[in-house]
Structure formats: C-alpha cells, structure tokens
Point group: C2
C-alpha cells in the first residue's frame, strides 16, 4: 500500500469525503430525489460559471462536450476560427474537420498566448466565420489565453465564442455572462477533483439561435434534446448519477468558500510552486502561466520524461510530461484537485531529488525555502 | 437514513465492496498501473462476451455506444433493418435517421418478439440493407429476441448484425462469436451493478471492413481511434478510471463464478419472481420473458405508476413503470445488479402491500409462498 500522490493535470486528486459520498447506494436517475440533486448541481454550476445560461451535464469526457459544441452550433460547409496553441487547440481543428467544418487556424507557437489582434484580424479576413474556438487554458502548454478581451471583441458580433475551460473553471475567474462567452466547456477530472466521465457546458441565448439552424447530425450529444430534458429536471440519457452526486458535494464546498477564496487558493499554489521552481534554477515554460498547472522546462541535458518516471516509479507521485512536440522537453505539475500547500512542497522536494538522481546540480531545500516564504506570506 | 432498495432495470444496485473499491485514490489514466487494469478488464470482457473480438470501453451511457455502432459502420444514404419492438428499438431507428441512414423498420407489437422469418423477409425485400439493428433484450417490454437464430441467418451474408445487449450481457448467455454478432453493445448500469457512465462494445472482423468504408462524421465515438489507443493499452480520450476499476472488480467476481452460475442466478431470480407474480393472480406482460426483468401487467383498474409510486415513497423501493405507450399499464422489477433471492421476496411483499392499498384483492403471503417454493427447489 504505497502512498499515492496524483499531481497530474487530470485526472486529479479527489477528496476522500467526496469519493465516499459517491460510494453511497446507487440512486435511480429518474427518481424525484435525484432530480432534486441534479437541479441543485445545475444551479451551483451556474454560480461557478457566473452565468444565467443553462448548464448541461453530459456523461462523457471533456472531448465529448467539445464535439457537442461543434456539432450543435454549426453545419457542414461552415467556417470557424480556431486558436491552435497546443494539443487541445489542435483538437478543436480536428473536431471541425471531422464534422465538415472548415477551420481557419490561428497557429501560435506552443508556450505562447494568442493576442486579441490575431483574433480581430482573423474575423476581419474571414467574415464568413461563424464561431471562434479556443482554450481558456491550454493544458498542454500551461498558457492562459485572453478570454475576457476576446469576449469583449466578439460580444456584439454575430459569431459564437466557444471556450474550452476544462482546466480553467474552478481554478480562476471565468465570467461567462460578463465576457460574453457563448459556450463554456468543463470536465469533472480537473479542478473538481472528481473521477473522469462527466462534462458540462453552458449555452447562451446567442448560441441557441445558432443551434436551431445547425445541420450537423447528432443524437447522443444533441443539446436540443438535453434542453427538453433539463426542463423536466432530468438528462436526455441515463445520468452518470454517482459522478453528479460527487460534483454536488464539491460545488457545495466551493459555494461555502466563495469564488474569491477558491481562486486565491489556486493562485497561491501556483505562485509558490513557481517560486520554488525558479529558486531551483529552472525555467517556467509558459509565457502566460496559469493558476492551473506549472509547466517546467527540463534543464539542458535532462529528459523531462525521466523526471516523470522517477517520481512515478520511485516516489509514488504522478505528474505529467510533455505531449506531442513537447515530449521530453517539459514536465507539468498540477494545482488542480484536492491539493494543498504541503502537496506542493512534496512535489518540489520530489523534483529536487529526481533531478539530483539524473545528475543535475541541485541544492536540496532551496526550492522549498522559496515556496515556504511565499506560503508564509500568503496564508489561506 | 431510510434503507434504500433499487430494483429498477438500470441503474441497478451496486455491491458495497465495488463502490468502496471505486472510492480509492484516483489513478492516472495513462499510468502503467491503470494500463494493466484496463488490459485485464478488456480480456475479462472478451470472456464475458464469449468473443475473440476486441471489446472497447467508452465514457458514455449505453446510447453513446449505440450511436458509435451506427456512425462507425454506415454512411449517409445507407439502409439498415431495424427491429422496433419497444422504446429501445425506436432508438435504433432514431439514431439511423439522425445520421442520414434509412431505417427499414420491422414493427413488432410491444410485448412480442421478432421472428426470424421477419428478418429473412426484410433482407430479401431489401438486399441493399447493410446492417440489422436489434435489442437482445428490449428493456421497455421485458422481451428477448431470438439473437442466436438471427445470427445464424446473417452470419455468412455481407450484412452487419448489431445487438444492443445492454440489459442482456451478464444476465444470460450471449455467444458473440458462435452466433456471428458483429457488434455487441453493453453498459455499466445494468447487470454489472455499476454506476452509469460506461459503455462497452465488441467489434468483429466483418464490422471492421464496414468501419473502414464508413463516411459518417465522428470524433469522440471514432472506433478507429479507439483501436489505435487499444493497441497502446489505453483509450483515445480520458478513461473513466473509477468506473473501469469497478468493472474490473465485478468481472473478477464473475469469472470466479463462471458463466453458468452467473446466468443461473438471474434465471432463478426471474423464475421465482414470476411464480410469485402469477400466484398473486397477476399476468406477465412479456410474451418471451427475459431473465433480466419481470414485466407485470397492472391489474384491471390499477395504474401501474401508482404501484411504482407507493413502493418508492412509502417503502423506499425503486422499481420502474412503463415507458411511452406502456405508461400506467405495466410495472417492471429488475433481476440485474447486486440482488439476491431475499430482494425478490422483498419486491413481491412490497407489491402485495401496494396493490392492497390501491384496493386490489390480494391475499398476503401467497406470492411469497410460490417464490419460496421455487427458491427452495433451486438453491444456488
């Protein structure tokens, strides 16, 4: 029974209290008791998303809700602007292509954020584009895009703004209504610290007007069906009852804390970790780093995958390496899920030890001292 | 803390041991430890499905895997034969229509089974049909279709045979390979007694040759992507790790029992319940009743929904009513999930009491006596 730490950017660590709540006897998905829970969870999601829009819950991973956004909003032959700044940006483009939609790609060097001007230019060059697809936080690079500013640009235009906030919602502020976000996508296995299998998405009035015109075929991911079901306080297909019950527990806890405390928590974990990493003489990969994860450049001569491997195999700690073109070049430490300051100390200590093992020049405790100083100055 | 009984045809009762296993700390979906579990679960599913075909696991409810079957096998403009003998047969037809496939519907009176001759006639009348879609067990009516016989008819023809076995797999014998079933669909929330959110499907060599030609757009449900991932011992998108771990626990237990004991268990529960229902003077609705559920005709003058309501509100017991055209006319008791003989005694006793409350002439204990006699003669 080795103690296990999960500090990967999803799935993330779950609170034992939540896991045990999910282990309670199974409830029927059409029972009045479950309907009540579901309705409350949807209300709490609206609070979290800062929206008056309906929030839908699907039994799928986050990619399912991404595909739902594409196939419900658009029709074959349509064009859409896609910000490709990492693996998940590429996924938007693939989802468009698969479904007969022409992606107009804005390609950004991995590790950098898109600029509002890039979007402005794209919509001017392509007035035919019906939607803009982006990540709030690109999990593969740890970069935050300027969602608020892009939202303000698009708000009054006849174009839908679709934000994959899978690794942003619950971590930092996403103001769905104020920023004019038409669809915001989320998933259970990131900030919520729940097992994977649940995705959520909010849908604006503007989005509904697109949805009514959409001609992409869809059944399991049909949002008009889900809307009908929502009005009857249920889901179109069998609800993933235990995951939704877990989600309800997390949201209750978050509501008690309030938005500010929740976002501050992630900020503190991220800043302290970055202070530690920098004190270790390492570099942060992300140009606009998020509060969701810390992405560290592997030092010269060290393969990032080896750091990940030592942590996993020798220390019982799961962090993540780089994906695709970043494989070997970075490693990623999550601040999402049921984690606290002591977990970040553990992560830093483990990275110190792994790098030493790999022959890198490390002074033990230096990164910890920097993190400690930050934590001490920002007690939650 | 009212004691809760769930005897609906899904979600079904879960074993506390399995729920607690699922409550263990979350595992990363790309870790070697999870890969190993996933690979073992897939092997055990092949054992259960009686197949050498690969079995895929999707993070979706059963409907997701049904849609995956349609959009991976066929192309817009294709025709397919659909057996519509209840709500889930209708779902196959809707899935086809949604995706641009012409359903050739064989409409069967609800409560009856399709005959092999009906299929034979349909394929002769429609040589253009590329697939036959059916339920092994139609959950809305409690009826079993003659899958083995239809399989033998279609086996050597260039037509795919797709069986929704969501409420059949694990309950009674489904011989995927011997009967020539090209796709067999299953779901976590029926016989497995797991929370909803997971679907599984096996895919034959014949099916792959269709899949390679298919032109329906799909991303989240793309089986070619899943096949690539399977070869790397993972899933294309984030695996629903906790549900898969739960599935592994159930399958280990089932393998220890063996097929025969597992199927006998459900048969005994079903036969004893039906003996009890008949002794109560009530009628079984299904012409070819399954071992999955018992569907009871509401007696003259009694609304089936009232029986369901009394059980739920007064006794803490969830059974199911009728759907669509059967609403009010029937009620359904499950034999799937973590249930034993004593649960069936409870169900019968509760039905006796509910009917009495509704003014029906019931002799207390009579149904129990009949069930007891059956159980005593068939001890497991």
């Amino acid at each position: 029974m080795q103690k296990r730490y999960i500090m990967a950017p999803g799935p993330t660590a779950a609170a034992p209290e939540v896991l045990l709540k999910m282990a309670e006897p199974i409830m029927h998905h059409r029972s009045p008791q479950f309907s009540e829970i579901l309705t409350e969870v949807r209300e709490d999601l609206k609070w979290l998303f800062k929206t008056q829009n309906d929030v839908f819950i699907l039994a799928s991973s986050g990619t399912g809700a991404m595909e739902a956004s594409v196939v419900n909003l658009l029709s074959p032959g349509d064009s859409a602007i896609v910000v490709r700044a990492g693996k998940f940006g590429e996924r938007w483009a693939e989802l468009c292509e698969t479904n007969g939609i022409k992606p107009i790609n804005i390609d950004i060097t991995w590790g950098e954020a898109v600029r509002v001007e890039d979007i402005e230019k794209a919509i001017n060059d392509h007035p035919e584009a019906k939607a803009v697809f982006i990540q709030a936080h690109e999990t593969s690079t740890g970069v935050k895009h300027p969602i608020k500013e892009i939202g303000e640009l698009l708000k009054d235009k006849n174009i839908c703004f679709v934000v994959d906030a899978i690794s942003a919602i619950g971590v930092y502020d996403i103001e769905t209504d104020k920023w004019g976000l038409d669809i915001v996508v989320s998933g259970s296995q990131k900030a919520f610290g729940l097992p994977p299998g649940l995705s959520m998405l909010s849908v604006s009035q503007k989005a509904w007007s697109f949805i009514e015109e959409s001609k992409c075929p869809k059944y399991y991911f049909n949002l008009l069906k889900e809307k009908k079901a929502l009005n009857k306080k249920t889901t179109a297909f069998t609800s993933a009852v235990s995951l939704i019950i877990g989600l309800g527990e997390v949201l209750k806890d978050w509501k008690k804390q309030g938005h500010e405390k929740l976002f501050k928590h992630h900020k503190i974990l991220a800043e302290a970790t970055r202070a530690g990493i920098t004190a270790m003489g390492l570099e942060i990969f992300s140009k606009v780093p998020s509060e969701s994860i810390t992405v560290v450049k592997a030092p010269e001569g060290i393969n990032g995958q080896d750091v990940v491997k030592i942590l996993r195999e020798e220390f019982g700690i799961t962090i993540a390496g780089g994906q695709a073109q970043l494989k070997g070049k970075i490693f990623r430490i999550s601040h999402m899920g049921h984690l606290d300051q002591w977990d970040m100390i553990v992560a830093l200590a483990a990275v110190e030890r792994a790098l030493k093992k790999l022959g890198h020049d490390v002074e033990f405790g230096k990164s910890i001292a920097a993190a400690q100083a930050y934590f001490a100055a920002h007690e939650e």
